[in-house]
Subunit: 223 residues, 2 copies
Amino acid sequence: MKVLVADDDAELRELIAFTLGQAGYLVIKASDGSAAVRLFSAESPDLVVLDINMPALSGFQVCEAIRTRSRVPVMMLTVRGEEEDLVRALGLGADDYLTKPFSPRTLLARIRALLRRAGMENTAPVAAGRIGLDLNEHTVRIGEGEAVRLTKLELRLLQMLLANAGHTVSSERLLVQVWGHRSGGDRQLLKQLVHRLRQKIEADPGAPALLRTAAAGYKLVVD
Amino acid sequence: MKVLVADDDAELRELIAFTLGQAGYLVIKASDGSAAVRLFSAESPDLVVLDINMPALSGFQVCEAIRTRSRVPVMMLTVRGEEEDLVRALGLGADDYLTKPFSPRTLLARIRALLRRAGMENTAPVAAGRIGLDLNEHTVRIGEGEAVRLTKLELRLLQMLLANAGHTVSSERLLVQVWGHRSGGDRQLLKQLVHRLRQKIEADPGAPALLRTAAAGYKLVVD
DNA sequence: CCGGTTTGTCACCGGCCTGTTACCGGGGCG
DNA sequence: CGCCCCGGTAACAGGCCGGTGACAAACCGG
C-alpha cells in the first residue's frame, strides 16, 4: 500500500512518513508540488496526503492535476480557521482534510478510513524498517532504492521473514510456510531460494546484511 | 458498477441502457424474464432494473427468483395507475419503482440513490491519462488518436483495468469480473483477450506500453 | 435463415522459475 | 589429521506461464 506525502515542511513531512512507515505503509515523499505531481505519475500511490501551502505548485493545483486522471483518495492538510481552503479543497475533489496541528494517531485513523472507503483495505501493508513489500506488484523496495521484482516463492519467503522481522525463523517453519512441505530433507530448496533472494536484495550478496543466517534458520535484520 | 436492465420493449431498454452507459455504468441487457434470471446468475450485477410486463417470466417472478439468493437493489418499472402492481412488487422485495413514462434524469437520480443506500456508490471512472472509454459506442480513444471499436469483453477488461489504473489486477480477479468464472483454469481466455485488446490499443503490440504484464496479472500504465 | 463478428479452444514457442545435482570450504569432533 | 555435517554457490533440465497464430463454435443483426 503506497502513500505519497507532499509537504514542504521537512519536520512535519518526516513525522508523517515515520508514522505511516511504522504502520506498514510504503511512503513516497515530495517536498514541493511539482515533485508531488511527478512522483504521482511515476509511483501510482494508493493514497495522497497533500499540504496546501507548498512551493512550485500549491496543494490545490496538485489535487486538481491528480483528479484529471485518477480517483485515488486525497487527504489535504490545512491550517486551522481557513474555512475557504476547506471548501475549495473539497470542491476540487479532495476526500478528507486535517487541520494542523493533528496527532499521528488521528492521521492514521483517517487514512485507514479513506482506504477502507475506497475499497483498498484488502492488501495489508507489509513493511519493516527499510524494507517495504508490495504484495500486489510482487516487488520489494529497500530504503530509497528501486523496487525489485520478486518471484512467487521469493515473495513468500520474504513475507514470512518480514512477519517475524528481527527474530530467527527456523528452516522447518520456512519450508512449511513457503512450500507447504510435510517432511524435512528439502533443505536444499531453502538454500537455493535464500541465495536467489540475497542476489536481489543484498547490496553485497557475499556478505548478507539483511537476510542473515542464524542458528537453525534465518532472520531478517531491521534497524 | 454493473446494472442489469430487463425490458421487452427494445426502445425503452436501449434508452435506459444508453442513459446508464452515459453515466458510466456497465449495462447488461435482457429482453425477457428468463434471460434476466440467467444473466443475473452469470453476471452478478450490482443493481437490477425490471419491467413488470415481460415474456417468459414476469418482472414479479424474476424479482422473486432474485430475492431467493440476493439482496441486490431492484428497481421495478410499472405503468401508471396500476396500484396493485406496486404493492405486489414492493411486497416481493423490490426497493423502488418508476411509473412509465419517466425521464432519464429521474431514472438516474433514483438509481444513484439506490446504490448509495446500498453503500455501493463507487462509480467506475471511464477515463485515465491518455485513455478515454466510451461505454455507449464501445470505443476507446488513446491520446489524440482515432477511436477504436471494442467488443463487449474487450470493453469490460479495459474497464476493469481502468478502474485500477496504475495497479496490478490479478488474473483471478479479471477472470471473475470479466467472465464471472468461479475458479482458475481458464487462463487461456484471458491470454487471448489481452492479446486481442493489445492488437487494438497498443502502438506496437509486440512491446506493450499501456497494457503491461505484471506479476500474477496485468496492469494499465497511465502517465 | 444467413453472413460476419466475436468468443472459445488447440497447438506451439520461448523465456523464466524452480527443483535437482554437484562441488567447495569451514568448523566440530573423534 | 581425517571425517562429516552444514551452508553457500554454480550449472543444468524440466516444467510452467505468457505470447501468438490458426481454427472452430457461438452469437448477433438483418
